[in-house]
């Protein structure tokens, strides 16, 4: 167990170890769903919500079920099942009880199961040997960092929507260049807090 205050991990997950800008996780939906600020904010909220709870669930499952049974090598399968089951469950619950929320988040939930960021956070948690509080902070922070990055990107993309671009650079090309510039800006945060 490493001795870092959960708050430090929380801020590091948002700024210095941002899921997208320094770990490249969750790129697929990041590029596909960043056309509008509103939709990307909804997706960000859904990701943060799912990340927080799946990280906790996976922590409990890993440390209280798999480690005692010596089944660590099965963690990929177990984590992905936990994530898929959780997402399915949440979808059913909000469809039944929170209709408005369902219309805001509903379409994004199935997408989230295959979002690399969700599985990535659980795997980082195991590799870095976080405690329960640290995992919670890491999960919430990663979700917020992901939301921050996708909303920023959507804002920039909305602004440059009408600008003329070189042929071939439209779409994914320019999106990656913007993301690169954002990552460059976030390099400025490095050293503020360090984990690992």
């Amino acid at each position: 167990m490493i001795d870092i205050h959960p708050m430090v991990i929380f801020f590091a997950a948002i700024f210095t170890n941002n899921m997208i800008l320094s770990n490249f996780l969750g790129m697929c939906s990041f590029i596909a769903v960043s056309n509008e600020i509103k939709t990307s904010l909804s997706l960000g909220q859904a990701v943060t919500f799912v990340l927080t709870f799946t990280t906790l669930l996976n922590y409990v499952v890993y440390h209280y079920i798999m480690v005692p049974l010596g089944l660590e090598y099965l963690r990929y399968i177990v984590f992905i099942i936990v994530i898929a089951a959780f997402v399915q469950l949440v979808e059913m619950i909000i469809d039944r009880y929170f209709q408005t929320l369902y219309y805001a988040l509903g379409i994004f939930l199935p997408l989230i199961t295959v979002n690399c960021a969700i599985l990535g956070v659980s795997l980082f948690m195991v590799i870095r040997d976080y405690s329960l509080m640290q995992s919670l902070a890491f999960g919430v922070g990663s979700g917020l960092g992901w939301t921050l990055a996708i909303v920023m990107l959507a804002g920039i993309r909305q602004r440059i929507k009408k600008n003329p671009l070189p042929r071939g650079l439209e779409g994914p090309g320019i999106t990656l260049i913007i993301t690169g510039l954002m990552a460059l800006a976030f390099v400025g945060f490095s050293g503020m807090v360090t984990i690992q």
Binding site: L21, S22, N23, F24, L25, G26, M27, C28, S29, I31, A32, Y73, L74, R75, Y76, I77, I80, I81, A84, L111, V114, N115, C116, L119, G120, L123, F124, I127, P166, R167, G168, L169, G171, P172, G173, I174, L176, I177, T179, G180, L181, A183, L184, V187
Partner: protein, 207 residues
């Protein structure tokens, strides 16, 4: 049969390349390309997983109920990824350390699921195997191309051997995250400009 296999390979490796054409699987394409060796290992791992999971999905395609097929595919993929992970831990422990969580993240690599959904479900096992392999090779080649420039400019070396001599001033930017984004953007730009596809542009991945 031979003509069909050839067509599958040109599509997967070149014309419909998963990375620069379909924009799939770029998480790991960005993360592991700071060194040639990492990219090579990752590429080989992915070729193994895509070809065998496409094969297995195709083999089971008539016995899988439609509404749980995603789950079944994910489980098949996870099984192969665990094999890769255990193999790396046993024979290449330093590589397993360097790749960290990205080996496990092969599971959520959209290429594999994409091929299973788009090809393996509707075709017999052998063509599916080749289709998975072709896409894996396409992915590995792009990874190696990006890693070639990142390692050469960032460290002045290739596969760890010094190429550019002791006086080379390393471009630290290339081995940091922004360098990865810029290199991939340049690859996509060039390929879109000079290899114009006849189909309309696919607006990015959904999974």
């Amino acid at each position: 049969m031979a003509a069909k296999t050839k067509k599958i390979f040109t599509l997967g490796v070149w014309k419909d390349n998963p990375v620069y054409r379909q924009i799939l699987g770029i998480c790991s394409a960005l993360a592991v390309t700071n060194l040639m060796l990492n990219s090579l290992v990752m590429g080989v791992g992915l070729i193994f997983v895509t070809s065998l999971s496409s094969f297995t999905v195709s083999l089971l395609r008539n016995h899988t109920p439609k509404h749980i097929r995603m789950m079944v595919q994910t489980l098949i993929i996870s099984g192969y990824v665990i094999i890769v992970d255990i193999f790396l831990k046993a024979y290449l422990p330093s590589m397993s350390e360097a790749l960290g969580p990205y080996v496990g993240l092969i599971i959520t690599n959209c290429i594999i699921m994409g091929r299973a959904e788009a090809f393996a479900q509707f075709n017999t096992p052998i063509p599916s195997f080749f289709d998975g392999m072709a896409n894996g090779i396409g992915y590995a080649l792009v990874l190696l191309f990006i890693a070639f420039f990142r390692e050469l400019l960032g460290f002045g070396s290739l596969f760890g051997f010094n190429i550019l001599g002791p006086n080379w001033v390393s471009w630290t930017l290339m081995i940091m995250p922004p360098g990865a984004f810029f290199m991939l953007a340049i690859v996509i730009w060039i390929t879109k400009r000079y290899l114009p596809g006849d189909e309309e542009k696919k607006g990015g991945a959904t999974a």
